[in-house]
């Protein structure tokens, strides 16, 4: 780890001012400290944003739920109202890391976390994401990597929350300069598709303020498949939401995680569900459509089968 200064912010504005272009925001620190210890990041200044009053608040308004950026995953997991409103969110949070990690990890940090690609994380290897000019995984050990691989870097988004929040149509409020941007989850990760050095669309100094989830009558569900029963990354994750009236779906969304640089959805697949009474056959068709353009690499063909199974299961779970 390189020497750094440390500051505490009491308002989002002061956090941004303190951080400038060379500082980093410290919330749970799970990702940031790991990156610093491996000398992948060396911020000159860490700005602790946890003490900002209200920054970890969970609020319910008439139209939405609002979760402050430093709301911990444990807070979300244990919140009865959120659990009832968004079972999918609850499940996605409960699958993150271990209890100790969820006690300190924040929703903002979960969304902004960097790639887990073992080439990127390796102290002696340099790839696109570290200023190099190649993706070492593409021809290498890529069992855990993306199956939508048209982009330069094939490390997938691993944030569980990004997947379920995409399904829930959440908005991420980001402070950039004097502006507050309101991004969809798609927009939050759009840059990762185009720019292999990016993990998301956040630039230096950009600060996630809060996440807004529309409170409507849609149901939600989340499932993931891993190698281990707990405390393991998803090989594939899947979230869905829809309004279900007597078995008929509307305003449906089905999203996959750990398969592409961003949560992966296809409008056509969503539309296939709307107005339909979803059964296993339709769910399988939707799964096929979602995975139609998958281009797995040498060692992750199996993820396609898992993704299809999860799509079917998640949709049937949503129906039940």
């Amino acid at each position: 780890m390189k020497p750094f200064s440390y500051a505490t912010a009491l308002t989002p504005e002061s956090a941004r001012e303190l951080a400038g272009q060379e500082g980093a925001y410290l919330a749970g620190g799970n990702d940031l400290l790991g990156l610093m210890k491996e000398s992948i990041l060396a911020p000159k200044l860490l700005v602790n944003i946890k003490p900002i009053p209200g920054f970890n608040a969970i609020e319910q308004t008439a139209r939405s739920w609002i979760l402050g950026a430093t709301t911990t995953l444990a807070q979300i997991e244990n919140h009865a109202g959120l659990r009832q409103a968004f079972p999918g969110l609850h499940q996605a949070v409960a699958e993150v890391g271990s209890l100790q990690i969820r006690n300190v990890a924040t929703i903002g940090g979960n969304l902004a976390q960097h790639s887990r690609c073992w080439y990127f994380r390796h102290r002696d290897l340099v790839c696109w994401k570290k200023g190099g000019d190649t993706c070492l995984a593409r021809e290498g050990e890529n069992r855990y990597h993306s199956i939508f691989t048209g982009c330069a870097c094939i490390s997938p988004v691993v944030s569980n929350l990004s997947v379920v929040l995409a399904a829930l149509g959440a908005t991420v409020h980001v402070r950039r300069g004097d502006q507050t941007l309101k991004w969809s989850i798609n927009e939050l990760y759009a840059q990762a598709w185009d720019d292999p050095s990016a993990h998301h669309s956040l630039g230096s100094g950009d600060l996630i303020l809060k996440i807004e989830i529309p409170a409507d009558s849609r149901r939600s569900a989340y499932l993931q498949a891993s190698e281990k029963a707990q405390f393991d990354w998803a090989l594939v994750s899947c979230a869905a939401s829809a309004q279900v009236d007597q078995g008929r779906f509307s305003r449906s969304r089905i999203v996959l995680g750990a398969v592409a640089p961003a949560p992966y959805q296809v409008n056509e697949a969503n539309q296939m569900l709307d107005g339909q009474a979803v059964d296993e056959a339709l769910a399988a068709q939707v799964a096929d459509r979602l995975l139609r353009d998958a281009t797995p690499v040498a060692h992750n063909q199996y993820k396609v089968a898992i993704a299809k199974a999860l799509v079917v299961r998640t949709l049937l779970l949503l129906r039940s």
Binding site: M1, Y119, D124, Y144, Q230, F231, Y302
Partner: protein, 692 residues
């Protein structure tokens, strides 16, 4: 001939681990907790090249780092490195951060050389050689008995298969490490080790120091599993740094270091042909195997050690055999003994092909094993285990379990030698009745201290908490390394002998005919001012060797996601006289959990292009967590007449084989390659669908 007491209060009973409270409260001092005054930190600079000629290592800039105190080179002058992570130099500094800064400041000039890290690449003749003077693929070690070709031709059924096991990395929760303190040309080393005397003697050789100038202490240690017998490069570096810095130096490996350079279980690739008569009697076994022990080759046919060879055919009696083993060198860290060296690999190939045979012959897998097993105790264990597990009710035709989540069962057996010897101990009996038993063994976490206390208490008529057990110090009477499942069988007879002699001496001094139990204190009072010190040693008749052991596994496999859930393991194990039941069962639990890791998760992943290890941490080198641990049902065959036999190794051998057999039974398709991952399961199901 000495004997164990027929009736006992503590031996074979559920007594609590005597150092449990110290461990859970943190008062137990492990090597990483030892902090002598003025202690510096040590860290190692490792090669960033999988193969290179190192032409120069310049320490000048490291010396400028604030907090720097000393640096040493592993070797002077030009040298070769042969794997990513090989040790080059080490520094001692006031803080860990300063160590990291100093390591980064060291300038290394190197000429990179071609390398090869995968077995399948290394065996090609056009591959770069790891060692200039010998090919990567060793000559075959051959062993033949009978006439295999004829026996295969005569067999009613022949099954063939190809099986592979990964390189499993040594990952004890406490990494390798030492704290070395050099004063007046005497060296004290706190070491995380399985062998305090082998560390002492290794250091004496390395440092050209007399053995009586070195004291090695290991009061508590957090696991070794075969990788912690000698001081290692890291131990010698700690001692050299301490001498150079004139201060104590603590050098504990990081998890990253641990992944690279301090041992692993060799891989294996096994082509097997097995022939049998129609009634299931095995007739012929042919094995063509290779595997890698990293930069060490190990191509002989003997089991044990850290080589790539393994005992074959495993367990079962087969009249005609032809066995060929070859070692493959690659540019990766070398193997060391790993809990039952060779046996889990051997078991996996043999038990897998045996289940294939059972299916082909339509014979129950348990019956097929009993039919061919020459070891009577294990035959009994198979019967007992099958009954207890409910094998007859649970075993179904492979793949016949309904639904997308399928259940399956499997079984496998193990053998191990163990045995003991060569241990001395002593007791100091004080006039107030307080007694201390001292022995230069070490407790790997298996419960050695509790074993000593239980025996002492029983023989002297006291309670375990009245016995002060002192171990892990080379100033105590010597004992051997804790490996090969020999500790309990080595230490227990020595303690027995010591206590017998204490009773004799105390009777003499006190003039009392019975000094045990309630007479103990009054007898001790008669000692006057001087404590009584009594030596004892290992004696024949209280221990033996040679165990079996069988395990049954029940699994659930999700055929859509490839996820494997181990539901239950039943283990039936003999280990002679059970000394301390709870710590014994605890070892069984540990062996099985380690076997689950081998079955489903663990694998060293090497990157072909860079030659580097890709999973040097617990995030991607996956180990079982609590949620992955099933119901474990343990039956220990109580056989006190056989004396004490160790249990550490046999209990980890059959677990992965039984689980893999259970997965094959669930799916109707065999995954012949460990670890059994979702990727492999889904690929195998895909392939079987395509050919169906």
């Amino acid at each position: 001939m000495p004997t164990w007491p027929k009736e006992s209060k503590f031996i074979s009973k559920n007594i609590r681990r005597i150092d449990g409270p110290a461990k859970v409260t943190g008062s137990a001092k492990y090597t990483s907790d030892v902090q002598p005054e003025g202690c510096l930190y040590g860290m190692i600079l490792r090669s960033r090249w999988p193969a290179a000629r190192i032409t120069r290592i310049n320490l000048d800039k490291a010396r400028q780092v604030a907090g720097f105190r000393a640096a040493v080179l592993v070797r002077e002058g030009e040298r070769r490195v042969r794997y990513y992570g090989e040790e080059l130099a080490a520094v001692a500094c006031a803080t860990k951060q300063a160590c990291q800064d100093a390591l980064r400041a060291i300038e290394v000039e190197a000429v990179p050389l071609p390398f090869v890290v995968r077995e399948e690449d290394a065996i090609r003749t056009d591959s770069p050689r790891v060692w200039d003077d010998s090919p990567n693929l060793s000559k075959a070690g051959l062993r033949e008995r009978g006439d295999v070709t004829k026996a295969l031709a005569d067999s009613a059924v022949v099954v063939e298969g190809f099986f592979s096991t990964p390189v499993q990395v040594h990952h004890p929760l406490e990494t390798h490490g030492n704290t070395a303190s050099w004063t007046d040309e005497e060296l004290t080393v706190w070491s995380s080790t399985q062998g305090i005397f082998s560390v002492r003697d290794g250091l004496a050789g390395n440092l050209n120091l007399e053995q009586n100038k070195i004291r090695v202490i290991s009061e508590y240690m957090g696991g070794g599993f075969g990788a912690k017998f000698g001081p290692g490069v890291e131990g010698a570096l700690a001692a050299r740094l301490s001498r150079a810095a004139k201060a104590p130096v603590k050098l504990m490996l990081t998890r990253f270091d641990q992944s690279l350079a301090v041992g692993n279980r060799p891989s294996s690739y096994q082509k097997i042909k097995l022939g049998a008569a129609a009634d299931g009697k095995l007739l012929a076994f042919e094995l063509d195997a290779y595997g890698t022990a990293g930069i060490g080759s190990g191509g002989s046919t003997e089991g044990g050690g850290g080589g790539a060879e393994f005992p074959a055919p495993y367990i079962y009696q087969i009249p005609n055999i032809r066995v060929s083993h070859r070692g493959v060198t690659v540019n990766a860290g070398s193997a060391r003994a790993f809990r039952a060296p060779g046996h889990p690999q051997a078991s996996f190939g043999m038990e897998s092909i045996l289940d294939e045979l059972a299916v082909k012959l339509n014979i129950d897998p348990v019956e097929l094993r009993i039919l061919n097993d020459p070891f009577e105790i294990r035959r009994k264990e198979y019967q007992l285990g099958a009954e207890r597990f409910g094998w007859k009710e649970k075993y179904r035709k492979p793949g016949s379990s309904p639904g997308s989540i399928k259940t399956g069962v499997g079984c496998a057996g193990a053998m191990w030698g163990g045995g003991g010897g060569g241990t001395q101990a002593e007791a100091q009996v004080n006039p107030d009745g307080a007694i201390e038993i001292r022995c230069g063994t070490q407790d790997l976490g298996t419960g050695t201290k509790t074993v000593i206390a239980a025996i002492g208490a029983d023989l002297l008529g006291l309670t375990p908490d009245q016995i002060a057990v002192r171990i892990g110090d080379t100033r105590f009477p010597p004992s051997g390394g804790s490996g090969g499942s020999t500790t309990a069988a080595s230490v227990s007879p020595a303690v027995h002998n010591t206590c017998q002699r204490v009773l004799e001496e105390l009777q003499k001094v006190s003039g009392m005919s019975d000094v045990r139990g309630e007479n103990w204190k009054s007898a001790c009072k008669k000692l006057g001012v001087n404590p009584l010190v009594v030596p004892g040693k290992w004696v024949e008749g209280l221990s033996s060797s040679g165990v079996g052991g069988v395990q049954f596994a029940e699994v659930e496999v999700d055929t859509q996601t490839g996820f494997v859930k181990v539901k239950k393991i039943t283990c039936v194990q003999d280990c002679g006289l059970v000394v301390s039941r709870l710590t014994c069962e605890s070892q069984v639990n540990g062996g099985i959990i380690m076997g689950i890791g081998y079955a489903l998760y663990e694998e060293r992943v090497m990157d072909r292009a860079s030659g580097m290890l890709l999973n040097p941490n617990f995030e991607t080198y996956k180990l079982p967590g609590l949620a992955d641990v099933p119901e474990i049902d343990i039956v220990l065959l109580d056989m006190p007449e056989r004396g004490v036999i160790g249990i550490g190794e046999p209990v980890t051998i059959p677990t992965a084989s039984a689980i893999a057999n259970a997965v094959a039974n669930a799916l109707g398709v065999r995954i012949g390659s460990l670890p059994v991952t979702p990727a492999k399961i889904l690929a195998a199901l895909d392939k079987s669908k395509a050919t169906a």
